[in-house]
């Protein structure tokens, strides 16, 4: 399991790795689950109360399904850790952050200076997401 390089939350991290969605359904005590790109994020919604960590895997950076999975979970009210794992590259992390990821465990650690630039580059956004940033249109119209 790759190291968590960035974590934007203060609670105690879950030590256990996430179980698969299939195993999660059978293990009523599991609190960490790992979503693969093809998994149905909405299957987790009935169980959000007991989930403390969702790892969303990006086996290749070009497979963007994990962005939708993340937003769907956040839109459903999930407040636990949402961790991007796999081929997580510096040029994707700002998008991931906007979709609700608050932890990053890239297979290959990111250059800290590049990552800081990436997280902070865009001060304004055109779209509202659950990250709470006011979109440009909201600022234009008070």
């Amino acid at each position: 399991m790759a190291e968590v390089q960035y974590r934007f939350r203060d609670d105690e991290p879950v030590a256990d790795p996430g179980v698969t969605v299939g195993a999660f359904g059978e293990q009523s005590n599991a609190s960490a689950v790992r979503l693969e790109p093809g998994d149905e994020a909405r299957d987790l919604i009935p169980h959000l109360e007991r989930i403390r960590l969702v790892e969303v895997n990006f086996p290749v950076f070009g497979d963007g399904r994990g962005y939708s999975s993340a937003r769907i979970l956040r839109e459903a009210g999930y407040t636990g850790e949402l961790r991007a794992v796999g081929e997580v590259l510096v040029d994707q992390i700002a998008f991931m952050r906007r979709c609700g990821f608050d932890a990053f465990a890239p297979d290959v650690p990111l250059d800290p200076a590049d990552a800081d630039n990436a997280f902070g580059r865009y001060g304004e956004v055109y779209q509202p997401t659950i990250d709470g940033l006011a979109p440009i249109w909201a600022k234009r119209h008070g």
């Binding site: 790109p37 950076f61 070009g62 497979d63 963007g64 399904r65 962005y67 939708s68 937003r71 839109e75 590259l89 040029d91 994707q92 700002a94 998008f95 991931m96 906007r98 979709c99 250059d111 590049d114 630039n117 580059r121 865009y122 001060g123 304004e124 956004v125 055109y126 779209q127 509202p128 997401t129 659950i130 979109p135 440009i136 249109w137 600022k139 234009r140 119209h141």
Partner: protein, 545 residues
């Protein structure tokens, strides 16, 4: 025209610096080409046959004269003195150096332009009707809706790694001049019986190797839900579009495999969910954008005595008849500058020509011009009494070719002369056909001929009354002929006539098809009408017999 405010400007400025940093990391070896490629593609930078190619976005095809002038300056400063206008209403430069690319983006940002999302598996530049705001038949100017989509789709955090590229078009008249039904999402702004405006959504059209005409999945989405509905349509695609095979990854395949009804059901369910997420810009934002597309200060008839066209110069009269469209404002006309001189390269213009067109837009068309998907330039608002003076300047610069929508007005992709995906050259075929039929083109009348150098169909060959597809036949160039394609309200896909031809053979075949048409045509029939009436077998006999 839409002007950036400080927010819009900050976005493109930040992008320039981001790309400058990405280029630096690539040149210093911190990232591999595999990692860099999607980043440069999202800034429109390809590696083509001879060099890097930069595709610059022209949102809904609209340019101010200052923007057009900058495009000409970039051609001279960073390229080899010319640019190529594309079927996506954009412009491409063929000879770009990677190390110059950030500076070019910085120059573009000075005139509120960019190359954001002109490639890559993301939402591309939104296209529209080139006569928007001028056409007599539009319900409303479609560009404010396209601008709303531009902003929503720019750096969309969820939809930047879609299964495949995603193209949207917005129109607002029944005469579809943007091939709307051949887009991933086509939107037609319509008015319902109650007089309210709304958006009809057509999803899952496209050309490429599996051409499909988009079905209408919702005939009326209220304007204050249009972005939310788009988001739902995209989310279903992002989650369920095929990623196992890039040739089956476009949304048209998903819509086709699920069936229109099931896809629509999923979109509607996602839409109901997203309505609760408050992601829709307020109508006040749409009104803000609309105000910037207000009509220019047209002069009213009567204040100037000579608003009619003097047709005494026959060359000018011919150009007026071919290249001009009736305007919604009496006394004005929309004029098309053909970038298809006989024997020329379709869509190419020199830096000097681009700057001249910028000056003419400033002097004759309220500072505005348009790029058309047929690779021409439109001056949308020309006073009729100034048209002759305009034409004289165009004609002197080789820009007065009177062939809009005639057989010489050929759409051609760059083909194997420039493109690393191509199987055959497109431009030489266009040049030869243009020369062969030059003397006949007025007699033949409207005939839309479109050439692609490979199955990706950038030259829209499926939608040509005559389409030509270049293929690789055991290492030599070969050309298939298609007949009967059409974009617009009665969109149809061309059918292949039979065995392919070599370069000279395809020119002969096109000539035979036009000769057969001339022999067969009924009163008032265009080539397409005759083809639809007479049918493929008769044309096939004429071509191969």
């Amino acid at each position: 025209m839409y002007r950036y405010d400080t927010y819009d400007q900050a976005m493109v400025d930040a992008r320039v610096e981001e790309f400058r940093d990405q280029v630096r990391r690539r040149l210093e070896g911190h990232i591999t080409e595999d990692q860099f490629k999607p980043l440069r593609l999202m800034n429109g930078l390809y590696l083509q046959l001879h060099a890097y190619m930069l595709r610059v976005a022209v949102p809904y095809g609209t340019l101010s004269s200052a923007q057009m002038r900058m495009l000409g300056d970039i051609a001279d400063k960073y390229d080899r003195g010319y640019g190529h206008f594309t079927t996506r209403q954009n412009i491409q430069y063929n000879w770009i150096k990677l190390e110059d690319a950030p500076d070019i983006l910085a120059d573009l940002a000075k005139v509120e332009m960019h190359a954001i999302q002109t490639s890559g598996n993301c939402i591309r530049n939104t296209t529209s009707d080139q006569y928007a705001g001028a056409a007599a038949d539009e319900v409303v100017d479609p560009r404010p809706y396209a601008e709303l989509i531009r902003q929503w789709s720019t750096f969309h955090p969820e939809f930047s790694f879609l299964p495949r590229k995603f193209k949207m078009a917005v129109i607002a008249s029944d005469t579809d001049r943007a091939a709307m039904k051949l887009h991933d999402i086509g939107i037609q702004i319509v008015r319902n019986e109650a007089g309210e405006l709304g958006a009809a959504f057509y999803v899952g059209g496209g050309m490429g190797r599996t051409p499909m005409i988009a079905p209408c999945i919702n005939p009326f989405v209220p304007l204050d839900q249009m972005i939310t509905y788009s988001e739902a349509a995209l989310r279903v695609y992002n989650r369920h579009g095929r990623r196992d095979n890039k040739y089956k990854a476009r949304i048209k395949i998903l819509v086709h495999e699920l069936g229109k009804d099931e896809y629509t059901r999923q979109v509607e369910a996602e839409f109901q969910h997203l309505l609760g997420q408050n992601i829709e810009p307020p109508l006040a934002e749409l009104e803000r954008i609309k105000a910037q597309f207000a009509d220019p200060p047209f002069e009213k008839i009567g204040t100037v005595p000579t608003f009619e066209i003097d047709r005494s110069d026959p060359d000018f009269a011919l150009w007026v008849d071919n290249n001009c469209l009736a305007h919604k404002q009496s006394g004005y006309i929309a004029a098309t500058i053909s970038l298809k001189p006989i024997g020329g390269i379709p869509g190419d213009a020199s830096g000097e020509q681009i700057r001249l067109m910028a000056d003419l837009a400033r002097d004759y068309s309220f500072d505005e011009c348009r790029v058309t998907h047929a690779q021409n330039i439109v001056l949308p608002h020309v006073r009729k009494d100034q048209l002759y003076a305009l034409w004289q300047q165009l004609d002197a610069a080789g820009l007065g070719t009177p062939n809009l929508d005639l057989v010489g007005d050929i759409i051609a992709c760059p083909g194997l002369d420039y493109c690393s995906l191509a199987n055959a050259r497109s431009i030489p075929v266009a040049q030869k056909i243009g020369q062969r039929l030059a003397a006949k083109q007025q007699e033949i009348g409207e005939l839309k001929l479109k050439i692609s150098g490979c199955i990706n169909a950038c030259g829209h060959h499926h939608a040509g009354h005559i389409g030509i597809l270049g293929v690789d036949k055991k290492g030599t160039e070969n050309y298939q002929l298609l007949l009967g394609g059409c974009e617009g309200a009665d969109t149809s896909l061309g059918q292949i006539t039979g065995p392919g031809f070599d370069e000279d053979g395809i020119v002969d075949a096109v000539e035979k098809a036009t000769q057969f048409y001339l022999a067969q045509r009924g009163e008032g029939e265009r080539f397409l009408d005759t083809y639809r009436r007479v049918g493929m077998p008769a044309f096939k006999e004429a071509i191969y017999g």
